[in-house]
Point group: C2
Chain length 114, copies 2
DNA sequence: TATCATAACCTCGACCTTCGAGGTATACGG
DNA sequence: CCGTATACCTCGAAGGTCGAGGTTATGATA
């Protein structure tokens, strides 16, 4: 049995990654730390999830990457949003909002529907 | 490529099903319709997801079932929450809340963290 | 009466994601 | 010189969702 809080990441990871990239190009390691920090350690993305996700986004044309030197002086692949990626982000953000509202309506219902 | 709004159901379906059962025992068919109606057609649970989910909940002792006759006069398996199921519902509800808040913090962040 | 829609159940395989484990390489501090 | 942090990657196991397909029975309709 897996921890359900982790399962919930499914379908949301791409959205989170795209969002982090709106702050400018970043490499995978930084993305993980940003998400972890901003979420108050609630969302901890494993590298085994992140790198496949980044490659996915790349294949779909939502991000582009380039090898550069990081702040720490090491070679790192910097990802940045493409215009298609921005559109995708807007779409997924909207979908997320609708989804949360829909779940809330069910969770907060006082009684069964007719 | 799958529709990300559907992917988001992952990890949330159990929560929704447990919630619907707080309104009293129900059979699978009714659970699907309740969720669909309350969510304003946003959440449409396929039967191929629901029945495995119900069996999962049963195995874990969160629901119990009994064959009865439905309102429509057909034989149907009625599921009801167990005490363990109620506890699980409370836990998953809390987890869901934390998760949504965590994602929101990332999505609403104006700039990258330090 | 034949037929269709609805109610209600179920299984199966394809597909996808996530994760943990494992592996590589380099920079820097002690 | 060695450990830690940075930074990348892959792989297999595990699990969930879905669409398609199938079954039975009721009731309405043509």
């Amino acid at each position: 049995m897996r921890d359900s809080s982790l399962d919930m990441l499914q379908g949301t990871l791409d959205l989170l990654v795209l969002k982090t990239l709106t702050w400018g190009p970043a490499h995978g390691y930084a993305i993980v730390r940003w998400i972890q920090q901003l979420s108050g350690d609630q969302l901890i993305v494993s590298e085994g999830s992140l790198y496949p996700a980044l490659h996915r986004l790349d294949e779909r044309g939502w991000v582009e990457s380039e090898w550069k030197i990081s702040d720490a002086g090491r070679r790192a692949r910097f990802y940045r949003l493409t215009p298609k990626g921005r559109a995708q982000l807007r779409a997924e953000h909207a979908t997320w909002g609708r989804f949360v509202r829909a779940v809330s309506r069910v969770l907060e219902a006082e009684s069964q529907p007719a």
